[in-house]
Structures are given as C-alpha cells and as structure tokens.
C-alpha cells in the first residue's frame, strides 16, 4: 500500500514540476520527524530558560551589586608595572637600573573642556599645545579612564609647577612609573639599546605579550633582544573607591613580577676607558677576551643618550641623531664597514706562508713604488724600505712587499684566507643589525659589475684597499684568533654563556707563531708604526692600518684635507703577547694614520685593562658598595 501511495505522490508532483527531483517523507518518517522537532522545541525552550535564569541572576539577584559597581564605578583596577630587569657589568656593577620617575598624564574622562586644559597645561610643561593634542589623538583608542601620558620622566621643576596647580587642572594626574636610570651615564648605548613607547606593531608580537599601550619596551640592542626576560610580568591592584574617587579599601593585589637581571661580560672600567678615548672622535672600539670571545668593551662614537627616547625625542635631537656624517644611532662596531687597510697584511702574510708563496726569510726590494704594466703603485714610504723581509715588512708596513705576495697568490686565494679569518660574513653576535662586510672574488666582480677582475685590483686588495670591507667586530675577532692560536669564537656579550667556537683559521699553527714577533715589533721595534702604544711592563702585539677614503693622485698631508676625505685610521692589538687576555680593534673614521690616531685609543683601553690586573683594596670596597646599591634598586 505504501508503495502505491508513493507512486501516486510522485506522479502528482510531476504534474507541476518535472525537473525538480523530490524526496518526500513517508509516514514512518513523518512520525520520527515530529519527535525530533519536539525535542528541538524542548531544547530551544531550555536554552531560553537558561538565558532568562541568568538574566534574573545578574539583574535581579545581583542587580544592586552590579548597579553599585556601575554607578560609582567603584571598583577600579590599577595596573602595577613591573620593574624592568637590571643590566650589570661582569663584576655586578649596575649599568642600567630602574628608579621611580614621574609621568604627567591626562585622564580624559575627568576633563570637561579639553582645549581649555591644554592651554593651561602646555606652558607648565614647556610643550606646545599642538604637542599635547598630538599625544591625545595618538592614544584616542584607549579607554577614557586610563591616563594619556603627555610628559614622561618630568623634571622636579615641571612637577612642582603642575603639583601646585593640580586643583585647578581637573583630569591631570601625576603617576609614578619605573624608568631606566644609568648610574654611570649612558654606557655602551649602542650595545644596550634604548627603550621607547611600545608601537602598535610590537603589541601584536608575542615578544611583547606583557606590554600594554604606553609601556616602555626595548627598541634596539640588548633591551630589544632580551625584552622578554627584562620586562617582567605586570600585576594589578583592585581597589574600591567612593563617588569622589577616594580610596575606600584595597580589595586585591597581585604583585608584579620584576624582570630578570642580565649580567654582561662587559667590563665597565674598560668600556668607560674606550668611550673616553673615543669621546672626541668618530669611530668604534671592540675589545674581546681572545680565550672565549666574550666582549669586554664595545663602543661606538658619537654616542647618544638612551633616556631621550623614553621621554620622546624632540625635533632638534632627531636631526642631530640622524646626522649623515656622524651617524650617532649606528652601532659602528657591528654596522660600520671599512677597508681594513694594512691590518689586512696579517691575513696576507699568513696566506703567503701557508701557500708557500713566501718563506719567513724571503725578501723583496722596495724602492718606494711597484710597477704593474704601465701603472705604478706607491709604497707609503716615499724612499722605499730597501731590502725587506717579512718581519720588516710587517713592522714597517711595507706595501711593496705585500703587492708582490698578492700578485703571486691571486685574488681568489687571498679571499679564501680572508674568509678563513672570518671576514665577509656576520660574526653572529646576538643583536639585530650586524653587517657582514665584503670579501670580493673574481666571480663576485663579474656578477656585480659585469667586468672581469683587474690585476691592479689584486695589488690594491693585498694592502686591504678596494672592494674589501670589514666591521670592527670582525677585526677584533681576527686579532683574537691570531692571539689564541687560530680559534674563531662567536662574540658574546652575556657573562654566563658557554664559549661558542665557530671555526679554526685555515693556516698551520707555526705561521701565527712566526707572525706574532713581527706584530710585537710593530709596537716595540724602534721602526715600528705603533710605538706610541707601548706600555711599560706589558708586551703588546698589533698592526696599524690606514684606509683611503678617496683616491689620491699624490700624497697629501691629511691635516690639509677636508675632514670627510681624510683616511680612516685602524689598529688591532692584543696583550700580553704570552697568554693573551685582551684583543682590541679600533677604527677611527677620518682619523688619518692608524699609528697616530687609532693606536692611542687602543693603548688607553689596554692600559686600563692592565691596571685592573693589579687589584687595589679600594676598588673592591667600591664594588661591594655598588652591588649593595644595585640590590636596593632591584
């Protein structure tokens, strides 16, 4: 019977629509569907009952309680900012700590006439009304009960002016917030980095999960790299206030967790010596411990004051920070790329010996210039060095000697050794922005310029001029490797990390031992180019370098030239010659001769290190006092 009915139905449907395929419920299915819909109705009813119950609970049962909350808005959450972790030097001295500072802000919710308030507040803070307006506009998306900070790290003068008029400035608040303090002034700002107000982009990153709009976070250097450890976790205070905003009682406190301290391998004494020696120059100093690659000092000049970024950079400051000649924001120690000049002769000598192009006793005759085809390449010494062996060539930095080696090696063999000494690639220091420098090859030039490599370029290359570019930190690692028997460590700035050995210089060990006496002669020999660097009681080995900035047809006295066309001065050194413990690379932009401009800076650094080796009781007392101070701040 069922079948026949189905047929009947189907035939009827076909009457009015033949194209549409239809499936109809049979009677059994209709019954089941009735049941299913009934259950669905029941479920629907239950859900709405639940909603109504919840509404009843919130609005009737707890209604008065919530009403009180909303009317007086009587419960407030106050966010408690965590203290940022300290940054300490190798002996625990505080380089960057935190101290309370005072911010002046505006709570828009409490302001009746914003323009009126801005007109009153601006002169007190020596800001233009537009500055304040800009800040209000920039944070217009945040809830109106949160203060918008218009002046960070206010001075006592500003504070007292505002405080005295606080009653006639409704909506203006003064809040205490931890801010970075630098007990020794801005030390190594390029390495440490600076703090600034967190950007919208940063807020989306996982690294800044704990930050809220308006917070200060790391923007560069170590502060950025170790933001997560340093930042800590914020807490809050739940308080009850009356209608006038007075505190009734504290309901709940979750204390903020302060950030972790970071201890650097940096030695504050050496760092300060380096910065002092660089203070009136443009350039960079890197001092490494050749035994493990730890950074003892890293300075770049001119330096900047990291505090200005936290309070907001003014237009004039910004202009100064972006001076294209001085580039104060650039960390020249890892981002400056320079021709190594004669410091490259260390690599050349090693390559020549290792490839058996020369022996320790081979000599070349230097008459002051070198002929290649029709071109003449000068030695820096007009009259020439005469008969020159390897020792004399390094001590007196004879160019002709190395022109000869360079031509015998050829460009690609030189480059193989340059790369072997860690040039042309990043050292891997754990900070953003490191540059890799450049080691040219025949193929590279063909690709880059679509021109074959010229022999004359090999000649230039062999005294560290031309396309070759190195960074100060690469030079420091290079001279460290010479000092420690060929080990290339990754430069590290954290004290408690394992040394990271990245490779071994590809020359036989006797070769470095052969070169070192000559490098010692650079300082101690009476014809040495860096005699200025001598320190009594300490054996130092080093090599000077002078890198041309522009091509010169004739030699000219540097003093007569415009500053920005003068040569860069370079110097690399390590000490003591036996069991070396410090290796230094110095680059002075447009400093002139390596021996006269860069070597004294290195001397100042090594001298400070040397004095530290003889401990005095007074320094120990000083150090413990500092530690105590650090503890108090932490």
């Amino acid at each position: 019977m069922k079948k026949s009915e189905d047929k009947k139905n189907n035939s009827k449907i076909k009457v009015f629509s033949t194209k549409i395929r239809l499936k109809r419920f049979d009677y059994k299915e209709l019954d089941q569907r009735l049941r299913l819909v009934t259950y669905a109705r029941l479920f629907l009813f239950l859900c709405f009952l639940l909603i109504c119950t919840r509404l009843w609970y919130l609005q009737i049962l707890k209604g008065n309680q919530f009403k009180a909350l909303s009317e007086k808005n009587s419960i407030k959450y106050i966010r408690l900012q965590p203290y940022r972790g300290n940054i300490l030097d190798c002996s625990g001295r505080l380089i960057a700590g935190v101290e309370p500072s005072f911010n002046i802000g505006i709570v828009l919710k409490d302001v009746k006439n914003v323009e009126w308030l801005i007109e009153r507040l601006a002169p007190l803070l020596q800001l233009s009304p537009t500055d304040i307006r800009m800040k209000l506009v920039a944070s217009k998306n945040q809830p109106s009960y949160l203060p918008i900070i218009v002046r960070r790290d206010a001075t006592w003068e500003e504070l007292s002016k505002v405080e005295a008029r606080l009653f006639e400035l409704p909506g203006v608040v003064i809040e205490v917030a931890p801010s970075r303090q630098y007990p020794f002034g801005p030390v190594a700002p390029h390495l440490l980095g600076y703090l600034g107000e967190v950007s919208l982009e940063q807020l989306r990153q996982k690294k800044f999960a704990n930050a809220r709009p308006g917070d200060l976070v790391g923007k560069s250097g170590i502060e950025l790299r170790h933001q997560e450890e340093l930042s800590g976790i914020s807490g809050y205070k739940m308080i009850e206030i009356d209608a006038r905003g007075r505190l009734v009682k504290v309901l709940k406190i979750k204390r903020p967790e302060p950030g972790k301290d970071i201890q650097l391998s940096l030695n504050l004494d050496i760092q300060l010596a380096a910065e002092e020696a660089l203070s009136d120059k443009v350039g960079a100093v890197v001092a490494l411990d050749p035994r493990n690659g730890k950074i003892l000092a890293m300075a770049s000049s001119p330096k900047f004051d990291p505090k200005i970024f936290a309070r907001g950079v003014t237009k004039d400051e910004w202009k100064e920070l972006n001076n294209p000649l001085l580039t104060p924001l650039v960390n020249k120690a890892i981002q400056g790329q320079y021709s190594p000049g004669s410091t490259f002769k260390i690599v050349m000598a090693s390559a020549g010996l290792n490839e058996h192009v020369i022996s320790p006793s081979s000599t070349f005759f230097c008459n002051g210039s070198f002929k290649l085809g029709r071109r003449r390449f000068r030695c820096w010494k007009k009259g020439g060095h005469g008969q020159t062996n390897l020792y004399k060539a390094l001590v007196q930095s004879c160019d002709v000697y190395f022109y000869n080696i360079g031509l015998k090696l050829g460009v690609d063999r030189i480059s193989k050794y340059a790369k072997g000494f860690g040039l042309g690639e990043k050292t891997g220091i754990d900070i953003k922005g490191e540059k890799s420098g450049l080691v040219p090859t025949k193929n590279w030039k063909l690709r880059r310029f679509k021109e074959p490599w010229q022999k004359g370029e090999t000649v230039n290359y062999s005294i560290g001029q031309g396309f070759l570019l190195v960074t100060p930190i690469q030079l420091a690692r290079l001279i460290s490797a010479v000092a420690n028997g060929g080990k290339l460590f990754r430069p590290e700035y954290l004290l408690n990390t394992e040394p990271n050995l990245q490779g071994i210089v590809p020359v036989k060990s006797w070769i470095l031992r052969t070169i070192i006496p000559a490098l010692k002669g650079v300082i101690s020999d009476k014809h040495g180019t860096a005699r200025i660097c001598r320190i009594e009681g300490l054996e130092i080995a080093g090599k000077t370098g002078t890198a041309q900035v522009i091509k010169q047809k004739k030699r000219r006295e540097d003093e007569k030239m415009v500053w920005r066309y003068r040569d860069h001065a370079l110097f690399v050194a390590f000490a003591p010659v036996k069991n070396p413990k410090i290796a230094v690379a110095v680059v002075i932009e447009h400093g002139g001769h390596g021996g006269s401009a860069a070597a004294p800076v290195a001397r100042a650094v090594i001298d400070r290190w040397f004095k530290l080796q003889m401990p005095k009781p007074s320094t120990i007392i000083e150090q413990t006092a500092q530690k105590e101070k650090a503890k108090v701040h932490g």
Partner: protein, 364 residues
C-alpha cells in the same frame, strides 16, 4: 499556480516577529551610536532595507530549484572564502573581509547560509531512513573545507558555528546511535588536539573566560564590563540612552558583539526577556514550518536556517552574560553588520518561501 493559496500560506506572524526584532535592534543601535558618535543606526537601517529586498527575492522563486544548483552554490562559497584568504582586508590580525568599496563583505556570514542549502540538498538526496557513520563521510568533507578556510582567517567562532549547524542537521536527518556515540567519543579525544592548533589569542580567550580576573586589562575586560552592564540594568533598566557602562565607553564594541549587553542595561530584565521571547516565538514558528513541510529538502532547509539563527542567538547571549568565552558571533539583526543582517534576512526569506510552497505538496 494558485496565487490565493500562496498568499494564504504566507506566514504573517513570522514576518511580524522579524520586524519587531529589527525595530528593537534599531532602537538599540541608536543608543549605541550616541555612545560612539558614529551613526550605526542609520547604516543599519540601510542594511535592513537592502536585506528586506533580498528577503523578497528569496521567496519569489520555487526554492526547490536551489537543490539543483547546490553544486554551484558550494563552488561560490569556497570561491568567496578563498578570495578573502588571498585578497581580503586585514583588521586587527584577522583577514575576514572583502572590500567592495561601498561595503566590506564578510564571506563567512553568507557562507553559513550557503552551507545550509548545500548540506540540506545533499542530505535530502541521500534519502536514507537513518544515517550511519559512513554516510556522513561525504557531507563532513563538504563542511570541512569551508570550516578550515574560516578557521584560518582566523575566525574560530564562525568556523565552529558551521560545524554546529551541520551537527544540528545531522541530528534532524536521524543518526544511528552507534554513529552518535562514536562521534562523541572522537570529539572528546579531539579537544586536546584542538587546544594545540588554536592560535595563542584564541587560547587566551578561553583561559580568560575561565578566569576573567587574571587579565582585567586585556581580554578579561569585556567579560567583566559586560556582566556589570547587564547586571546593573536591574528590573526595568536605566532607560534609553542612559546606560552608563556603554555610554561612558567602559564597554567596547557595543554596536556589534555586545549589543545585547547595552540592551539589557538600558531596558533591564523586562526588556531583555521580551527580546529573548520574541526570538523564542520566531524560532518556534520556524520549527513549525520545518515540521509541516512534506518535502525533505524544504524541511531540512528550514531546520538548518533555524539552527543557524538559534545558535547565533544562544552563543551571543551566553557570551554577553559570561556563560561562554568571547567569540565573534553577532546577535542576528540586533548586532550591527551588513553581512550578518543580509544573511539572516535571506535565510528568513527562504523559510517563508518553503512555507509558501508547502501546500503544493499537500494534494495527497
């Protein structure tokens, strides 16, 4: 065709409820607009008008033709979701919108409705008395692709909503008990896995739901403030445009996901229960149509659309009342948003359509 009969079968009460909800929604958005200074209510009125046009269009043809085009409909759904993935507009981390110049289309909204059509058609054509596990493989695959596309936007809420609508439809076509138990056991095992795949912010929302006090300034803010807003409404509410929580901007997004909380604050328990009751009557009416339609496709279609609206209402109100974590599910017709309004009205149009043509079957 018999036009008189068509008119007689037109479901006027359903339409009445619908217009009532829209009217209340407009009043509510008027208040929300005063808080934010943007004329949401005017814009929403435009969407209502456009949506009503769509609704009329949706009941002007024989709905059964939709079943023939379900392949195309599915293709359009996937295409829209892929376009949004490739060329969509990014707003605070989620790529959910296609910019059409005058209008930002949120394809995951119509996708819900389109998937209801596709799945209803598929299940109706399968024509089984009871569905086993193997019968579900094909439709599950059909649902899974749009789910993944929406999940990746990322829009966990809408993605899950599609799954829930699918599950409701499967319930309606009758599932074997054995299949039901297997699926349930499988879902239990899948929860830890789902936790792993979720984006950190999604995980955080669930954590915050479980303990809003842990992060009162971040995500916990919504939940706490929404509860204060609703609770402070009391029995009769604070009155139109007098809700302090919303008007003082304590409560974010009052015009979209938290529209119900401003309604409850300003109109109190009475107003909230009235609004909920209208929804209740509306949905009951829809279920009646689902029950009384003899055509399988039509019945499934109505049930699916009803489920779509029902779940949005339940999830949104539960979220506002602090019974569920914060997910971006709007309250149909009350929350501001063109895509959502048009989808809801289109869906209602289809329900009316099925009701209109119901009698065409009752010849037997």
């Amino acid at each position: 065709m018999d036009k008189k009969r068509l008119l007689k079968d037109f479901d006027l009460p359903l339409l009445l409820y619908l217009f009532l909800i829209m009217a209340l929604g407009l009043i509510n958005l008027w208040s929300a607009s005063a808080a934010s200074g943007y004329p949401f209510h005017i814009k929403q009125l435009q969407w209502y008008l456009i949506g009503t046009g769509f609704m009329c269009a949706a009941c002007s043809f024989d709905y059964r033709k939709l079943s023939n085009y379900s392949g195309y409909i599915y293709a359009i759904t996937i295409l829209l979701l892929i376009i949004v993935m490739v060329a969509g507009k990014k707003v605070s981390g989620s790529q959910r919108w296609i910019s059409l110049g005058f209008f930002n289309l949120q394809p995951s909204e119509p996708a819900k409705l389109l998937m209801v059509i596709v799945i209803s058609s598929f299940l109706a054509q399968e024509d089984k008395e009871q569905f086993g596990l193997t019968d579900l493989i094909k439709p599950s695959l059909l649902v899974f692709i749009p789910f993944i596309l929406i999940f990746k936007q990322p829009d966990l809420g809408t993605g899950l909503l599609i799954l829930i609508i699918f599950a409701s439809l499967v319930y309606f076509v009758r599932l074997k008990w054995s299949a039901f138990i297997t699926i349930f056991a499988f879902l239990l095992c899948a929860i830890p896995l789902a936790w792993k795949i979720m984006k950190p912010y999604q995980r955080k929302r669930i954590e915050i739901f479980l303990n809003p006090e842990a992060d009162p300034f971040g995500g916990g803010w919504h939940v706490i403030q929404s509860k204060i807003a609703v609770g402070s409404g009391g029995l009769y509410g604070k009155g139109f445009m007098k809700g302090t929580q919303a008007q003082l901007n304590f409560l974010p997004e009052v015009h979209t996901d938290f529209a119900f909380s401003i309604w409850s604050e300003e109109w109190g328990f009475v107003g909230a229960v009235i609004l909920i009751s209208i929804y209740f009557l509306f949905l009951l009416r829809c279920l009646n149509i689902a029950q009384n339609t003899r055509d399988k496709f039509g019945s499934y279609l109505v049930f699916g659309i009803t489920a779509m609206i029902f779940w949005q209402v339940v999830i949104n109100t539960f979220m506002v009342l602090g019974l569920l974590p914060v997910v971006g599910i709007p309250l149909p017709l009350i929350s501001y948003g063109g895509s959502s309004v048009i989808t809801t009205l289109l869906g209602t149009g289809l329900i009316l359509n099925v009701k209109l043509r119901r009698s065409l079957f009752q010849g037997s």
